[in-house]
Subunit: 150 residues, 2 copies
DNA sequence: ATCATTGCAAAAGCTTTGCATAAGA
DNA sequence: TCTTATGCAAAGCTTTTGCAATGAT
C-alpha cells in the first residue's frame, strides 16, 4: 500500500516528539489537494474559504516542519515572499520559466546527475540536492519580451 | 582597451536618460572592489566605514539598476534578505554550497548549455539564462552534517 | 531653470514571537 | 497532569515610498 503524505507527516511528528494537531493536518491536506505552487497567503485564504480556521502563525510555524520532513520545498522567493511546492510523491524536477509571462514548465534532466557526479569527483563534496531554474521566453512570448529587452 | 564596470554603468545611465551621481558611482566602485557576495547591509556598512555617505535608500534604489544593466545579479535569498554578486567581467558560473558550513564553490559546467539546447528543442523556449545551485557536504563536513540529517 | 536623485523618516510587507488559552499525550 | 500548540496582537526585519532639499544637465 502506498504511503500517503499524512503518514509521512505523522511519522515525522512522532519521531520528533511533537504533537499531531488538526491544524497541522489540515495544512498538509490542503497543500496536497492543491496541485500548483502556493504561498502562505494563498494557503491561508483557501483554508479560510472552506471555514477551516487555521491562523497564519500556525501556517508559518508548520511549513518549516514540512520542509524538514521532505513533503514540500521552497521554490523561489519572488514578489516579496516565498513560494512553495509539495514534492512528496513527485520525481525531482527543475523549472523553466518564461521571463515575460511567467509561464512555468517542470522538466527532468538526467544530465544533472552527470553534473552532480562531476562535482563530487572534482571537489570532493557529497551531493545532496540541486535546484536549477532556467529562464527564457516561451513560444507565445518570443519577440515580445526579447525585443523589449525584458 | 578593456571596458570597465563604470563605463558600462555610465552608458546604461545615459541610454536610459538617468543621471550620473556620485552616490551611484560610489556604490558601483565598492561592489567591484569587493570580491565576494554581498548584501545591502554589508555594502552600507563598508561605505560608512570609509566615510562614503550613501543612504540605504539610495542603495536599494541603485541595485535594481545594476541588475538591469548586467553588472550584478541576485544570488539567493537567505537569512531574510537578498545576497548579490557582481558578474560583469566574470564568466557565467554556478554555485556548490555546503549544507553544513555554508562554504561556497563557484564552478562552470558546459553540460548546462547542453541542457539549455535540449529545453529549447523540447519546449520551444528561447533560453536566456539559468541559475543552478547544488547542495552537498564539503570534504570537511562529511559525516558531521550527513549523520545529523542536516 | 528643470527635473531626477538624495536622505530621512514613515510606511508597507512578510515573518517571527510573547503570552494567555486550549488541547494533545 | 504536564507540556506543546494555537491564535492574537505586537514586534522585528527588510524593503519601499513620500517629501523637502539638493544637485545634475
Amino acid at each position: 500500500m502506498k504511503t500517503t503524505e499524512l503518514q509521512v507527516f505523522r511519522d515525522y511528528i512522532r519521531r520528533r516528539g511533537l504533537r499531531q494537531t488538526p491544524e497541522r493536518e489540515t495544512i498538509v491536506r490542503e497543500i496536497f489537494r492543491l496541485h500548483e505552487h502556493f504561498d502562505v497567503d494563498e494557503l491561508y485564504l483557501r483554508l479560510a474559504q472552506q471555514d477551516l480556521k487555521v491562523s497564519k502563525a500556525s501556517i508559518y510555524r508548520t511549513l518549516p516542519l514540512l520542509v524538514d520532513c521532505g513533503l514540500i520545498r521552497e521554490v523561489e522567493y519572488t514578489d516579496g515572499h516565498w513560494h512553495y511546492e509539495h514534492i512528496y510523491g513527485h520525481p525531482h524536477h527543475c523549472h523553466l520559466r518564461c521571463a515575460a509571462c511567467g509561464r512555468l514548465v517542470e522538466f527532468q534532466e538526467p544530465l544533472l546527475f552527470e553534473i552532480e557526479k562531476n562535482l563530487q569527483e572534482k571537489y570532493g563534496y557529497t551531493i545532496k540536492d540541486h535546484v536549477l531554474t532556467v529562464l527564457g521566453y516561451c513560444p507565445q512570448c518570443q519577440g515580445v519580451g526579447e525585443a523589449a529587452g525584458d
